[in-house]
């Protein structure tokens, strides 16, 4: 599904990812943890094709093709979805209009017919119910005046609408109350299937109680420094990142 090999990437001339390698197979859920500033968001942005994130070497293969060749919107249409760490507002553009445009762009790409307004509304109401948001939110501007938790739920709602093959969730659990955490987890679990994969960036192992990952990785200083099963998350929670000798790794990196 997703195969990242020895990836180096920089932002504004600053190297952030330094030889990252990661393999995600269909149906798998991978959790990525790691200290602040280690490059987790950068990785999701590089995958989504955000402008300004320059890949200097390495490769990313997605579903058998070279992901780096594609424009951000093409990646999205191919099934890459990013739930943002900080969702932005688009004033005046209703959620419903935004989502319908998005869904129809993706359907068009797949050679499917545009969804008519009626069926679309029905679908949207169903999905918004799954994240416990009032259907009134569909009429409001995209994230306009939404609370932090509402924004995160809205991201999950969009994911449920667009049914991506690869979902990248960047700290979707941050700032959520207990109920909302459950809602987000339910959303992701509803999407889980043998064809879909999930990359979950999180700082807290509690999310992993609800979304049980197949693998847990520690990203530090731009590369994966440790991988394991879900018990690794528990270990990290208990011991922190110190025992992984990340600092030595950083020091070695700076010397070279």
């Amino acid at each position: 599904m997703l195969s990242i090999k020895n990836l180096y990437a920089q932002v504004e001339g600053k190297e952030i990812l330094k030889g990252l390698t990661l393999d995600v197979k269909p149906g798998e859920v991978h959790a990525i943890m790691g200290p602040n500033g280690s490059g987790k968001s950068t990785l999701t942005h590089v995958l989504a094709g955000r402008e300004g994130y320059e890949v200097t070497s390495g490769s990313i293969e997605f579903g058998g093709s070279d992901l780096l060749e594609l424009e951000p919107e093409e990646r999205a249409r191919e099934g890459v979805f990013l739930a943002f760490q900080y969702p932005v507002e688009i004033p005046g553009v209703s959620n419903i209009q935004f989502l319908r445009t998005a869904l129809n762009s993706i359907r068009k790409h797949r050679g499917e017919e545009e969804m008519d307004a009626g069926s679309f509304l029905k679908l949207a109401r169903q999905k918004i119910g799954m994240v416990n948001l009032d259907p009134e939110f569909l009429k409001r501007g995209v994230n306009e005046g939404f609370s932090g938790g509402e924004k995160k739920r809205n991201e999950i709602m969009q994911m449920l609408m667009l049914e991506p093959r690869l979902a990248l969730l960047d700290e979707t659990d941050s700032g959520l109350d207990i109920d909302a955490l459950q809602v987000v987890a339910n959303g992701v679990n509803a999407l889980r299937s043998p064809e879909r994969s999930v990359l979950l960036v999180t700082h807290y192992q509690r999310l992993l109680n609800h979304i049980v990952p197949d693998y847990v990785h520690v990203l530090a200083n731009g590369r994966i420094v440790k991988s394991g099963g879900r018990e690794l998350a528990l270990e990290l929670e208990e011991k922190g990142y110190g025992w992984l000798n990340i600092d030595e790794d950083v020091a070695a990196d700076q010397e070279s």
Binding site: A48, G49, R50, E51, G52, E71, P72, E73, A76, R77, F81, L82, F84, P87, V88, E89, I90, P91, G92, V93, Q97, F98, L99, T101, A102, L103, S105, I106, H109, G141, V142, Q158, L162
Partner: protein
């Protein structure tokens, strides 16, 4: 970040869809302006004596006037003797009685512009008074309107059929001496629309007119007069688009609205004239005087406009609130791109007691364009309890464009309440990326964001017009962002 701007700019390059010229032969006057030309125009139109005198008087006054220089725009000096002041499509001489008689070439032109007269007019229930160059070609739904007692016809026809109304109201809102362009228009106006809604009548349909400019070097001097008698209501739609040209073309229209006691006039414009190429060559100069008079108590005039065209726009639809408790509104979206320059705004002149006005102006600047909002709110000494609310929002796309706001407030009455709000924002990289990440083309994304920005104004437009306006913005930003 500069990379992003370059990318954004790439998307703003627009492609003008309405750029083509029909080859209907024109029956035009050679360029030049003098009293003989005015007599010729008046004779051609078989006008009564009072009309010729009115034109000649306007011409003489105009000769004494100065072209305004204070607007925030630049353009080469116009040679008024290089303009031809009369042209009419040849095949129209005998006057078509129905659409079947209309030159098919002309109908095809309208269709290319997305104005399929016969179908769309019928489907939407809109009466279309289509102006091709200086002469009206087809008028539909006349019967239904005349049943209601509504007069909707070319002003040249109204001069023949309702001279008393024309004589009473023409120039009553925009006097001949008002400004340089209005003076010129008064002297040489070609044609335009005339509307009269009788007392207590609610006009049974939206009235609509489409303008185009076609014959080479022909300035357009449209003249529109709308009178809503006591307690009546009318909604009037104006839309225009023009073929691609090499030379700058002058357009100096005058629109006058009169609302008597308790009457309401809603005037909506979607304007899409050729703005010139990327360097601004060949676009239309649009110098328009639009003004409404709330003559009677409790009357209301509302201007809604969406402007994307012209190389230069100079336009201030205004309302004179003379009647007590009268209401003036101005909702505007002005989009400028490439080298376009726009200096637009409104004037709300409060004279009567408890008069209220609302101004919502949205400016969108892209490319290297420059747009200015200039608004005047004046409250006279007798305008006890007058209120105004003004909101000006600017949206910048890219970093090479500019937006300016010049609010002027003159209040001679202490009881007046005048509020002003202004914001400037940018289409952000984050917004664009969010859209793209959801599979939406950046171009589509920009147009969606821009449409969202304009929402408050679009909701004032009649339904079909709002859809059209949205499409127009999309076309105007086409080939643009990145």
């Amino acid at each position: 970040m500069s990379e992003t701007n370059a990318e954004v700019n790439q998307y703003i390059k627009r492609h003008y869809e309405a750029g083509f010229v029909t080859d209907i032969e024109s029956d035009s006057l050679p360029p030049g302006l003098n009293e003989e030309v005015i007599r010729f125009i008046s004779r051609k139109k078989n006008e009564p004596e009072f009309m010729l005198e009115w034109r000649l008087n306007a011409y003489r006054q105009w000769l004494e006037m100065q072209e305004p220089e204070w607007a925030h725009v630049n353009y080469p000096k116009i040679d008024y003797n290089a303009i031809s002041y009369y042209s009419a499509p040849k095949s129209q001489k005998d006057g078509p009685k129905s659409l079947d008689e209309v030159d098919p070439e002309l109908l095809r032109t309208y269709e290319k512009l997305g104005i399929p007269l016969h179908e769309r007019a019928a489907l939407a229930g809109v009466a279309v008074d289509a102006v091709f160059d200086s002469v009206s070609v087809a008028t539909t739904f006349k019967e239904k309107l005349s049943e209601a007692g509504v007069v909707f016809c070319p002003i040249s026809e109204a001069i023949q059929s309702h001279p008393e109304l024309v004589q009473k109201y023409l120039g009553s809102v925009v006097p001949v001496k008002d400004n340089f362009f209005a003076g010129l228009n008064s002297a040489v106006f070609s044609d335009g629309s005339f509307v009269y809604i009788p007392k207590g009548v609610r006009c049974p349909m939206e009235l609509s007119t489409y303008f185009r400019i076609n014959a080479l070097n022909t300035g357009q001097f449209e003249r529109t007069l709308i009178i809503a008698d006591e307690g009546s209501y009318v909604s009037y739609l104006e839309g225009c688009t023009a073929p691609m040209r090499d030379e700058n073309q002058l357009h100096a229209a005058v629109v006058e609205l009169v609302a008597l006691e308790g009457a309401e006039i809603k005037y909506s414009t979607v304007q899409n004239w050729y703005p010139g190429d990327e360097e601004g060559r060949g676009g239309i100069y649009n110098f328009v005087t639009k003004r409404g008079l709330c003559a009677g108590a409790g009357s209301k005039i509302s201007w809604t406009q969406v402007e994307t065209g012209s190389a230069i726009t100079w336009k201030y639809p205004s309302v004179i609130l003379r009647g007590d408790n009268s209401v003036g509104e101005f909702y505007s979206v002005a989009l400028t791109n490439n080298r376009q320059q726009a200096d637009t705004g409104t004037k709300m002149i409060h004279l009567g007691k408890n008069t209220r006005s609302t101004i919502i102006a949205k400016g969108i600047s892209a490319g290297r364009s420059d747009s200015s909002y200039r608004g005047l709110v004046r409250v006279g000494p007798k305008a006890e309890g007058a209120r105004n609310f003004t909101q000006c929002d600017s949206l910048l796309i890219g970093s090479q464009c500019g937006a300016h706001t010049f609010p002027y407030i003159e209040s001679k009455n202490n009881s007046a309440v005048i509020e002003h709000e202004a914001t400037t924002s940018k289409v952000s990289e984050d917004q664009l990326f969010l859209c793209q990440q959801r599979g939406i083309d950046p171009e589509r994304a920009v147009s969606m964001i821009v449409n969202g920005f304009c929402k408050e104004v679009f909701k004032e437009l009649p339904m079909e017009f709002a859809v059209e306006a949205g499409k127009l913005l999309e076309v105007s930003l086409e080939g643009s962002v990145g």
